[in-house]
């Protein structure tokens, strides 16, 4: 058990080509890195062996939400003081993790969420079609969770230990992003948004979820509300 440490959880599914480069910079900050290989069929698990990180492997593919939850549970078990969510495809900025952690350290928030829509420069990096979709998604999220955010489905987040222990994601796939908001609300966690830059590379665009997936996410959201 190690006390007083920041754990960065990196869910990784078939990211063998990118994961090492995404993780390396994290190590220079002294963060503990937990990579969850979500049943990849490429050699993600093998390339991780060369890195001084905690590697966890789902024997079968469950989805990003499940991988994040596995990583968070593990980090809490290991005594994490703060838990950060970070994507393996290199679209998040490692130098902005401190911006997420700052409000947590000061006790201003239990959860800090990255937003692409707080800085004009960040917003301009978002493709127009995505901008429109995300703005629509913030309205849907507001309707379901009551949280008035400027961004939706931004995977760049940080939690205090206590907040991380309260979050229990049941949506295995991409709907976990709105599920997190609902749980923030339910557990009355103090949250805030900070600017975050998302680097849309050809690689991350190809790996990311297609825009059409919005319909699936909306369905999950409604099903969760009425079938639980």
């Amino acid at each position: 058990m190690t006390i007083g440490s920041t754990f960065v959880v990196v869910p990784s599914y078939n990211e063998a080509a990118a994961v090492v480069n995404s993780i390396r910079p994290l190590l220079t900050y002294g963060y503990r890195v937990v990579v969850v290989d979500d049943g990849s069929s490429d050699d993600t698990w093998q390339v991780l062996e060369s890195l001084p990180v905690f590697s966890l492997r789902h024997p079968i593919n469950l989805g990003q939400g499940a991988a994040i939850q596995t990583g968070m549970s593990f980090a809490v078990q290991q005594g994490a003081e703060f838990v950060v969510h970070f994507d393996a495809d290199g679209q998040h900025s490692h130098e902005q993790i401190e911006n997420l952690l700052e409000p947590l350290r000061r006790g201003q928030a239990d959860v800090v969420l990255g937003s692409r829509f707080l800085n004009l420069a960040d917003t301009e990096l978002v493709p127009l079609s995505k901008r429109i979709l995300l703005k629509g998604a913030t309205l849907v999220n507001f309707a379901f969770s009551g949280l008035k955010l400027t961004d939706a489905h931004n995977g760049f987040r940080a939690f205090t230990r206590e907040a991380a222990m309260k979050i229990d994601l049941q949506e295995n796939r991409f709907s976990h992003a709105s599920e997190i908001l609902e749980q923030i609300r339910r557990h009355k966690l103090k949250w805030m948004e900070v600017p975050s830059t998302i680097h849309y590379t050809d690689y991350s665009k190809a790996k990311g979820q297609p825009i059409s997936n919005a319909v699936n996410i909306l369905f999950d959201l409604v099903a969760r509300r009425f079938l639980r």
């Binding site: 991780l48 001084p52 905690f54 966890l56 492997r57 024997p59 469950l62 499940a66 593990f74 079938l227």
Partner: protein, 116 residues
């Protein structure tokens, strides 16, 4: 007996038999439902009489309405069970991943303190 009646009775019997051999659950219920179905096929007028007393036009309509309701119930049950099973698989997978975690090699108790 018409050809369609023979066909339907054959299909119902086969279906009931198949489920009976596949599972030990609901045997009595299944036999009962199968018997009613075959009885209705043999005496279509009976279904119409029951339908009329319920203000439904024809016996065939009544059978269709009831089938749709039953199928809907089964679908919801299957959906919920599928979700519960998915949840169990997730918990199992998670506990395997955590219990078999690869710990960084430099992290033995003697130098763990240099972190953070």
């Amino acid at each position: 007996m018409t050809l369609i009646q023979i066909l339907l009775i054959g299909m119902i019997s086969l279906g009931v038999l198949q489920v009976l051999t596949a599972t030990r659950h609901y045997r009595v219920l299944l036999l009962l439902v199968g018997a009613i179905a075959i009885f209705l096929v043999i005496t279509p007028d009976l279904a119409t009489k029951v339908a009329k007393s319920l203000n439904v036009g024809r016996g065939a309509d009544l059978v269709i309405y009831l089938s749709i309701a039953l199928l809907g119930m089964l679908w919801v049950r299957l959906f919920l069970r599928g979700r519960a099973e998915q949840r169990q698989i997730t918990m199992l997978t998670r506990s395997i991943a955590i219990s078999q975690a690869r710990i960084p090699s430099e992290m033995n108790p003697s130098n763990a303190a240099e972190h953070n």
